[in-house]
Amino acid sequence: MDGVDQLIPVPDTDTQTYWEGCKRSELLIQRCLSCEKLYFYPRMLCPHCMGRKYEWVKVSGRGVVYSYTLIRRPPVSGLEVPYILAIVELEEGVRMMSNIIDCKEDEIDIGMKVEVIFQPVSDEIYLPKFRPVKG
């Protein structure tokens, strides 16, 4: 494995459901059945209350850019630069890291409304990325 292939996620028993959702174009986030808070990334207990029962919630996939940068020196070969790295805050409140695609360098800004799009990087893995909401 070289270049970007090294970055392809390998699901584990905490995250299998999440990645299966991505493959169906569904963004699934865990909700604690004890305190009812959402939490991300997926894990076997709630980081708010240590509750161990949860459900998977299909979220809207919409959010805003919380912060961003344009990476010009990528960590691996095979990436076109610059690319936009961002922390996206979902409407439901949790934050994710992602890349913003279909977005010009001078358009990206904090607070920009974005929506999820799933990009296949292997047969099994569809990586959630975000693009600006049009209009």
């Binding site: 090294q6 970055l7 912060s67 940068t69 960590p75 990436l79 890291m97």
Partner: protein, 389 residues
């Protein structure tokens, strides 16, 4: 909580620092041993006086039971031994561990060392492995974040919330370089201007190459012992007055805030223990992996209000003759990146009055910070001379 418990019960009594920069062929063990031998001799001690050994880890030469290996290499048989993995917070954290262990009677004299050939000692495979290890393996790394990218997002958010500018960040880099120009053991000694920083290549907007720390081979070490014993040794004791840690998250997506860090909690604890306030501090050695980090730490330490960091670093306030000289040795940005070990060494030097051309006149108190990961792990030290006890 007994926050006063270890105040001034221990002191830094020996310091050591190797050459820095490109040192091809030097191993992690050699670098740590060279700095450690200097520190033990500086204290006027013998290696067999050391009964505690604390280290961080080597990235270039990872090794199982690294601390045991190092003690063995030195010919020391301690009864207190540990390695911590707190990134850039490791070294300040270990000073706290040493002070606590000595105060608890577990050991009497602790050697703390750091040395790694990070500039020339990595295999190509190692470099690739390191760069893909940035961020959560499934939820961050796939987006190719880069460490600089994470700190760039911190900078961007700070700019968004408070109007901080690239010029203000650049002033931090310019000041560190000016300080390094007075340090014969610094990697980068040629003065730079704000324009030089702004015209240097962008790594991850808004951070330029000159906003980012160096990569270095080198080592540093200190010896910590009880205040009682410190009085009988060669050099003036540098007392550990306050210590605090704050660990808010590991992955940046889990950080509650990008502009306030665990440094705030660490600083609150360290200052409370010391009985001092930021206004009492003569010199600050602030972890500067990126210019951004200095800005956030200065605010979180309480030297200025949150959001005022950009204005605080302007106008010569953080250099000699200013309100708070910061990173008098040149820091990670211009002296060398030895994971913050040399920030502690420099603080001790300043408080002993041994900093030569870059001596802050009459320095009696110092604060040192360490920051590891993605603004994740924080440790803060407040140090002082006998004059402030």
């Amino acid at each position: 909580m007994k926050e006063q418990s270890i105040r001034a019960k221990t002191a830094i009594v020996g310091i050591g620092e190797t050459a820095v920069g490109k040192l091809p062929g030097k191993t992690s063990m050699q670098l740590m041993a060279e700095a450690s031998a200097q520190a033990i001799e500086d204290a006027g001690l013998k290696k067999d006086d050391v009964d505690g050994v604390l280290v961080s880890y080597s990235l270039a030469e990872p090794s199982f039971m690294y601390c045991s290996f190092f003690s063995e290499y030195m010919g020391i048989k301690p009864h207190f031994s540990a390695a911590v993995h707190l990134g850039g917070a490791s070294m300040c954290s270990l000073v706290g561990h040493a002070a606590a262990a000595i105060n608890a009677g577990i050991c009497s004299t602790v050697l703390i060392a750091r040395g790694d050939p990070q500039r020339t000692g990595f295999s190509r495979q190692g470099v690739v492995a390191m760069s893909t290890e940035v961020g959560h393996r499934q939820f961050e790394a796939p987006y190719a974040p880069l460490t600089a990218g994470i700190y760039a997002m911190v900078a961007r958010r700070h700019m968004h919330e408070f109007g901080t500018t690239s010029e203000q960040l650049a002033e931090i880099a310019v000041t560190m370089r000016y300080h390094a120009s007075m340090n014969d053991n610094a990697q980068m000694r040629d003065p730079i201007t704000i324009d030089d920083v702004l015209n240097s290549k962008l790594v991850a907007d808004p951070l330029h190459v000159l906003d980012c720390c160096l990569v270095s081979d080198g080592g540093g070490a200190i010896v910590v012992t009880s205040a009682e014993r410190a009085n009988d040794l060669r050099k003036p004791p540098v007392y550990i007055l306050g210590f605090g840690e704050g660990h808010s998250h590991y992955h940046i997506i889990q950080a509650e805030s990008l502009v306030t860090s665990g440094c705030k909690d660490a600083a609150r604890r360290a200052f409370a223990m010391s009985g001092l306030t930021p206004a009492d501090i003569d010199v600050a050695e602030i972890y500067d992996c990126f210019t951004t980090t200095v800005l956030v730490d200065l605010e979180d330490l309480g030297f200025c209000e949150k959001g005022e960091g950009g204005r605080f670093v302007q106008g010569g306030r953080i250099t000699f003759g200013g309100e708070l000289p910061v990173n008098t040795h040149g820091g990670l940005l211009s002296q060398a990146h030895i994971a913050g070990m040399l920030h502690i060494v420099e603080a001790a030097r300043q408080l002993r009055g041994e900093a030569g051309r870059r001596q802050v006149h009459g320095a009696q108190t110092a604060v040192v910070t360490g920051n590891g990961g993605s603004l994740s792990a924080h440790a803060v030290l407040v140090l002082g001379t006998e004059g402030v006890l």
